[in-house]
Structures are given as C-alpha cells and as structure tokens.
Assembly symmetry: C2
Homo-oligomer: 359 residues x 2
C-alpha cells in the first residue's frame, strides 16, 4: 500500500537494486542470493507496496547479523514426488528460499500440469505476490502463501490465533499485465491500525478486537494487546487455517502460535515460518492462444462493464500495482520518508551510505 507520507525521495530501480544487493553481500550473502533478495524487495517497492519492500531490509540485516537468519544457508529439496516437494530453507533469507521453492514448483508443474511445494525452516518472505508473479511471468498460474506469528483473531477469540497469513495468485493475461492479487486474511494491515494510533484517530469497528476480544474503535492498545479482525469474519479465519495447513502443517514448519516474530523475537534464533507454492501449467491444458483470448475477453468485459456514479474505472487485481510499476521504471521509485529512514539505518549497519546514492 502506498503510504500517505508526502515527503518522497526518488531513486532509480537500478540504483536501489544495486544498493540492496551490496547490503546483502556485506551481510554475508552470496552474489546470487543477494540478487534474489534484492529482486523481491525492489520489485515490491516498484509495485508501490512500500510496507513490504526495501523497508524490511533493516530487519533482515539485523537478523542476519544475529544469526537467526543464516547468510550461508542453502535451501534444498528435503523430499519430493512427481508433482510435489518439501523444501527445507536452512534458515536462509526467506526470499532466497521462496524463489528456490517457486522455481522448483515451476519445473514440476511443467511436467505434471500442477505442483505443490511446501517450505519449512523459512522466515518472513516479504510480498507473497512476487513469487506468484514468477510463475505468471513464464506463462504459468502461480499461488503463494505463508504463515506468520499470530496477529489475527478467530471469531470469538480474545487474542490472536493465526498469522495475517498472506496469500497471492498471479495469472498470465495476454496483452494485459498478469492478474495479480496479494492479500492478507485480516480486514486491514496492522500498519493501518498503527498509523491511526500515531495520528490519534479512531478506527472502524471492523479492524481490531481489544484486550477483551470485542471489536474496538480505539487503536491505542495495538500491537501490544488485542488482535486484528479476520476479513469477512469466519471467511478470513477459514482461509487463514487453509494457509496454516498448506504452509505450516504439511511442510513440517511451525504453525499458529509456534511461528516466531521475525522482527521482534530473539534474532539469534530461527522463526520456523512455513510457506507454500502452487504452480499450474496453462500450456499443458489449453492452447496458449485460446487461454489468452479467453482471459483477455474476461478482462475487457470487466473494463467495459457499467460503473457506479463517480467511479472512473473498474480495476482488475494487480492493475494499480502495474501502473505504479510502469511509473517506477520510467520515472524512478518515489520512496516515502519512512522507507528512506529505514534504508539509512540499514546502510549504517553494513557501513554504507544510502543518502550518497541520490543526493
């Protein structure tokens, strides 16, 4: 989500990418792993999802230095069959493991039509949508999901039960950019609650439950007490438990309350996040041109459908992100000030100077 911050610093995609590669290398990652990590974080910024892009670099560097993330960790296939694999992340950077896992899924889907790869011993993986897009970029359908330290209530619970458990999909869409949805199972991101708290504002009663487990309009307890409400109540909760099943239970990772907080928990220890990736080979099932015609027709129909008064456009999932991406590539990425502040801290941790890159 684009922050509302009005003070922005514009850097080119290439400059930001090179900075992140260097920072990861200085923290001990191989050039290949550093590039994989930078690919994920900078693409996420280019999509305008600044909460999950390079702002996170600082936290990852801290955990790499403390040892809970292993700079030389090597994800590997721990078990596999024709259309599935379980990947052990070896406590490497979550992005490195997740790219490896989705690439494994793509290979298996090309042979079998569909594949599942479960991941254990991973960590926070950033934006789920990136890995789904790795599939769509090559003409396949991709799904990506992960569990996380609990922050979201179940209907009726007093505290958090599941993580915000991101889930994303991407579908190649012919002449259009890939259809791309990346969502959490909570009504809103915790960052929106925290921002309201900072501004001293009340929040809608659908965002949070308080210490008593009841809906509240008071953001002041969060994140220390209370929990986010699941999106659409039992529906968001139910999807959260499907994600726990595929990313946590079946992969051998931690699940629900067993998952660590990648940012705040002891940096010397692994968090044991789980993740899951599913790929589907469109080409195996339908001539590529047929699928292309069909999805283009669906997208065109939606674009041309009647709109409510005052609504300029109907969006396909991902369209807003792809328009920000085009702007980022052509005009540079306009980083909000909180991201810049975080990048300056990150640079200092590895004896670099971020400001030098653009001033």
């Amino acid at each position: 989500m684009h922050t509302t911050d009005s003070t922005e610093t514009t850097v080119t995609y290439a400059t930001l990418h090179q900075f992140v590669v260097s920072a990861f290398e200085r923290a001990g990652l191989s050039p290949g792993d550093a590039k994989a990590g930078a690919d994920v974080l900078v693409m996420t910024d280019a999509w305008g999802i600044f909460t999950h892009g390079t702002k996170l670099l600082r936290g990852y560097l801290r955990r790499l230095k403390a040892g809970g993330l292993r700079a030389k960790g090597r994800p590997k296939v721990a078990a596999e069959g024709p259309a599935w694999a379980i990947v052990d992340g070896d406590s490497a950077l979550g992005q490195v493991t997740s790219v490896f896992a989705m690439e494994t899924a793509l290979g298996k889907a090309r042979g079998c039509g569909i594949s599942y790869v479960g991941v254990r011993n991973s960590c926070h993986f950033g934006a789920a949508g990136y890995y789904a897009w790795l599939a769509a970029r090559e003409g396949l359908i991709g799904l990506s999901m992960a569990n996380d330290k609990p922050s979201v209530a179940a209907p009726g619970s007093r505290g958090p039960i599941t993580g915000s458990n991101p889930i994303a999909y991407a579908v190649p869409a012919g002449r259009h950019h890939a259809m791309l949805l990346d969502m959490s199972v909570a009504t809103v991101a915790g960052g929106k609650v925290y921002a309201a708290r900072t501004r001293g504002e009340k929040i809608p009663s659908t965002w949070l439950v308080g210490a008593d487990g009841k809906p509240t309009t008071d953001p002041n307890g969060y994140p220390e007490i209370g929990a986010l409400q699941p999106a659409a109540g039992h529906k968001g909760y139910g999807i959260a438990l499907l994600i726990e099943t595929l990313a946590g239970l079946l992969s051998g990772a931690a699940f629900t309350s067993g998952v660590g907080n990648w940012l705040w928990d002891d940096g010397t220890q692994p968090t044991h996040h789980g993740a899951a990736f599913i790929a589907m080979d469109v080409d195996a099932m339908m001539p590529r041109d047929t699928f292309r015609r069909r999805i283009e027709a669906m997208v065109d129909d939606i674009h041309n459908a009647p709109r409510a008064d005052g609504v300029a456009r109907l969006y396909i999932p991902g369209e807003m992100e792809w328009e920000r991406y085009e702007l980022a590539i052509n005009k540079g990425i306009a980083l909000p000030s909180d991201v810049v502040a975080s990048l300056k801290d990150a640079a200092a941790m590895v004896d670099m100077n971020f400001q030098k890159l653009y001033s």
Copy 2:
C-alpha cells in the same frame, strides 16, 4: 445456513435419501447417478445447509424434464496429463459430474501428490463443501470451486460482475471431524437479502449495492436489480476472479457473464457452468500419524485459546456442520417448511407423494 423457520418436519436420513434417489430415477437418471445426486443433496441437508440441499431437487427436476440437464449425460475425461484432467460434463446433473471429477482428481493426486481437474459443460453443483469432503474422507486434502451466473459486484461496478463463486476446502483432522470451509465470495448469501425483503426489514450497508452501484440498506430491488457486495471488497472480488480462472477459463467452460442461471434461464439449454477440483495426498508428503498429530495439536490449541466474554466456544471450520450432522443421523433431519414445500412440488413433478414418507 440453518433457516430461522420454526416449522420443521423431521425425516430420517435414509428416508430422505431414498426419496431423492427415486425422484431422480423417475426423471431418467441411472441408479448410480441418482444415488450420487442424492448423496450430495441429503448430506448437505444433514450439515444443516438447507439452502443447498434437497430444496434444490425441484429445480433440477424441472431442468431435467426440459432437457437443459441431460438425464443420460455422461461426464468424461476430455483431456488429461499426469496430475490434471479436463472433464466434459455432457450437461449431466452437476452433482454427478462433480463427483466424477473429484474422484478423477483423487486418483491422480495419489500418484502425483497434487492434482487439478477442471470441468466444463456442468451446471449448478450444490454445496461445494461436499466434493472437498470426498477428499478428506479418504485422507486427502480437497478443494472445490465453481463459477455461476453473475450476482456479485466488483468494487465500483454498477451491476454484477462475477458469480457468488463458491469455494470450499476440507482437511482430514485425525480424531476430529474434517476441517471444512464452504464459502461464497459475497458478503452474505442472496437468500439473506431476499429474506429481509420478505420480512420488510432493512439490511446492513455491506450486503448489497443498488441500481446505482452504491451500497444500500434497502433490499427491495433484489434480486431484479443491484448486486451482492463482494466479501471484504477487493479481496472477495479477487478470489472470485481466481475461481473464474480455474473453474471457467482453464476448463473451457463459460465464464462471468457467459454462465447461465440454472434456476431461471431457459430450461431447455445448458448453463455451461465451470468447476475446479484440487486434491492433495497428505500421505505422499508426510507420515499420516505425523500429520494427524500436528493438525490435532492445532485444533486443540484453538479450542483452548482465550475467548471473548460471553463466547462459549471457538469453532474450527465445519464443526457446526458436523454437530448438526451427528444430530441428523441420530435424531433425523429437521427440514424447514420451505424445504418441505419444495420437496412436495418436486414429488408432484415425478408422480410421487412426499408427505406420505413421514406422516
């Protein structure tokens, strides 16, 4: 959803099942197909999902008599690979085709670990959860989804864009009943809006958009005008388009506005619904006892978690349905009066007498 109707008629599971089998046979289905259809509808009633159980029999019989559903239709595998298949439903009863498709998926998942079966030339398939449960009953994880005639708005649209597009999953859960979620992508089922209209009540502003595409608390236009709102806004809309992709685009079925209304459109014509089924073989990836221990631990943790004041229990998806099922098996199925009225009509269509079964 259990109706709020206070006048109930209790019949045994076996009695109701035999009635539905006979009715389908009198409409021309083979004994095997009639049993498959009855299995789905009566199980759905036993779960207390009376909106999607035997109440639908009347509409299916009407379409079977008109020819839009083909009593002698035979679903078949039209194309396949190691872990996928496309099933052509041949305009058979949607339930018959869907059971065939999920059984095809189970066979392929046992060999490959995961499988996808897309379905075209199907019709309304009733409760998505039934087919997911077919997988869980045999120790596999199942997902089930379908598209439908548009009834749900996109954010900002003036009318419906996608179907209510049901999606369900089921996961075997050791000593517990299978975890089972069956949801639509709309905030609420259209039936709830219609019930409020019948009672002359206003509705919450999150349920419906009116003729102008704006949220409304007035249910009086529905279903002729307006559209249901997607659950959690762009999230429900995004999931609806994933379902259109897997159930409609990739299977070769109709999609979005191309899908017919199984109840109201010309009964002599097929509706071209699509569906998708995914199965995952837990046993291939993890020792069965290990998975069982893990999911039992997750369920137990949730059951034991702190609750908000006044909340007696935290539920796992499906628990309410399974408790109604136990009651239905032991004490009979308490059919609401609208279901009984529909069954009496259905009986008359095939020269049977429903009332004779229980009075």
